[in-house]
């Protein structure tokens, strides 16, 4: 499922009476709020879905793969996702009945 398919599905949902365009804006807003929170170093906690946080990566010396020259890489943060209980359980219990579809 891609972002546009997700928007499509949400717009077709029986409960939401919002136009496709409004759903599209809403999805973009949700993703931007989530990105901004992480960019501010804030965690995201969605019960039953999971939590997003930042993990610290210390500075290191890497190498230019072409020239082999050492390159100093500064410290950075990377996003990390930990699935919540409901997501973990639902996905795990589907393993006997559905195959993982490769590619979309």
């Amino acid at each position: 499922m891609t972002k546009s398919e997700l928007i499509e599905t949400l717009a077709q949902g029986q409960q939401t009476q919002l136009a496709y365009k409004d759903v599209e804006l809403a999805v973009k807003s949700i993703l931007e709020q989530m990105t901004q929170a992480l960019a501010n170093g804030e965690r995201i906690e969605i019960r039953g879905f999971g939590s997003f946080s930042l993990h610290y990566r210390p500075p290191r010396v890497g190498r230019n793969p072409k020239t082999g020259e050492p390159v100093e890489l500064p410290a950075k943060h990377v996003p990390h996702f930990k699935p919540g209980k409901e997501l973990r359980e639902r996905v795990d219990s589907s393993k006997e009945t559905v195959r993982i579809q490769s590619g979309t």
Partner: protein
């Protein structure tokens, strides 16, 4: 302080003027549709944000860290998240107080 569904709802209300009921339903369905797709064995690709992928893990030997007792960890299906380039770039520059 963490971002929660309540704040996402508030954000949709402030930014887009959705009423609270619509906003709440939308935030709820947003996460539910992602769960449903994953539960159906289908990965979720949110461009600019990241991909939620599925992996089947085989059984492996494990240990109770307290007692040292050996217990096998059974085969399971798990969700992994791979952040997209744009999200990675936005958080890389965060200068925080070390670990969260």
């Amino acid at each position: 302080m963490a971002l929660t569904k309540a704040e996402l709802v508030e954000g949709l209300f402030d930014e887009l003027g959705l009423n609270k009921r619509e906003a709440k339903e939308l935030v709820e369905s947003f996460f539910e549709e992602i769960r449903r797709s994953l539960e159906n064995g289908e990965q979720v690709k949110i461009s600019g944000f990241g991909n939620f992928d599925l992996r089947d893990k085989t059984q492996r030997p494990g240990r109770n860290p307290k007692t040292g007792e050996e217990i096998p960890i059974c085969a399971r299906r798990v969700v992994t998240f791979r952040a997209g380039q744009k999200l990675k770039a936005r958080v890389a520059t965060y200068v925080g107080t070390g670990e969260q």
